[in-house]
Structure formats: C-alpha cells, structure tokens
Subunit: 70 residues, 2 copies
DNA sequence: ATAAAATGTTAGATATAATTGACATATTAT
DNA sequence: ATAATATGTCAATTATATCTAACATTTTAT
C-alpha cells in the first residue's frame, strides 16, 4: 500500500502534528503514522473521524480516482 | 449505529443479493449483512471494494452529510 | 402448500486493527 | 552544542473485524 500524501497534506494545512491529530480523533500517534505511511487498513469510522477533524470528506482523503482539481 | 440504506439500495439497483456482493468483494455474506444492518465498522479497503463493485464512491455510500445534489 | 432462495442472527475461532512502551533519527528551536 | 518536538519503526499485548458453521425467519418462487 502506498503512502497517504493527501492525509499528510491536509494535516499540515491545519498545522497539526501526528500526535495532535491522534489526540483529536482518539487514537495513538502510531496509528496515524501507520495510516499515513500506508502500513495498514483503518476502519471507516476512524477515517470519518479524521476527515471531520481535517475538514475533508472521505473522497478527498481516501478515495482513489479523485484527480479533480477542485 | 444505524442501517446503511444507501448501500442496500445500491446493491438492489445492481440486482445483487448479499451473497452476490460478498462473493464479488471476497468476504462472507454475514459481513455484508452486518454492514448493511449497522452492526459494525468495516475497514476502508472493504468499503472501497464495495463501492467499486456497485459503481459508487465512498461519499455516496459511507459519508454522512452528503446532501449535495451532485 | 411446499420448495428454494434471501435475509437475520448467534457462538466460537482466526486475522488484523489498534494499543502500550520503548528507542532511533530528524527537525527546529535555543 | 544541546534541548525539545516530530517522526519512523519495532515487539508484545488487547480489541475487534471477519470467518466458519449453523439455524430461524422472510420472501419468492413453483
């Protein structure tokens, strides 16, 4: 699995560290790190929580053929 | 958690049974049934597989405040 | 009416998401 | 230089997604 650079960018745009995001959604820093690095397959509820904190949708951060230049 | 009626409707629109969809994405019928009934929290990769089979996006089937008239 | 297919649900097992804790490296300060 | 913060990663544990297998109910046929 590849890295999730859209997630990394959305987090950077909010000036949050991995730990900040982890605390905001109620998981550990290692979990956020693993998701950004594509090391595993989070649950949809966690994805939804992350999206809400970062002001994005599922398609923005986790859908693939989404090359729309907004 | 509430039922996922959008998933149920999208599956019906393809005239697929729960077992048909389960076979198409490589899980069991019970897993599809549990997702439709809101009994748990699937992984994002499974959600993406389901969306692809049904010709929908993550926002279509799993995002919440999605009242956009496309 | 009955047979077949689809769905709902449950118990027990397995795979893996997520945790805790630790350590290393990199970055950004002072 | 060093102190602090952020990130990468790994081993061991816990929580839970998913499986297997079974049985009941509902729906759609014959």
């Amino acid at each position: 699995m590849g890295k999730n650079l859209r997630l990394k960018a959305a987090r950077a745009a909010k000036d949050m560290s991995q730990k900040d995001l982890a605390d905001a959604v109620g998981v550990t820093r290692q979990t956020i790190n693993a998701i950004e690095n594509g090391d595993y397959n989070p649950t949809i509820n966690l994805c939804i929580s992350i999206c809400k904190v970062l002001g994005k949708t599922l398609n923005d951060l986790f859908w693939e053929d989404d090359q729309s230049g907004e």
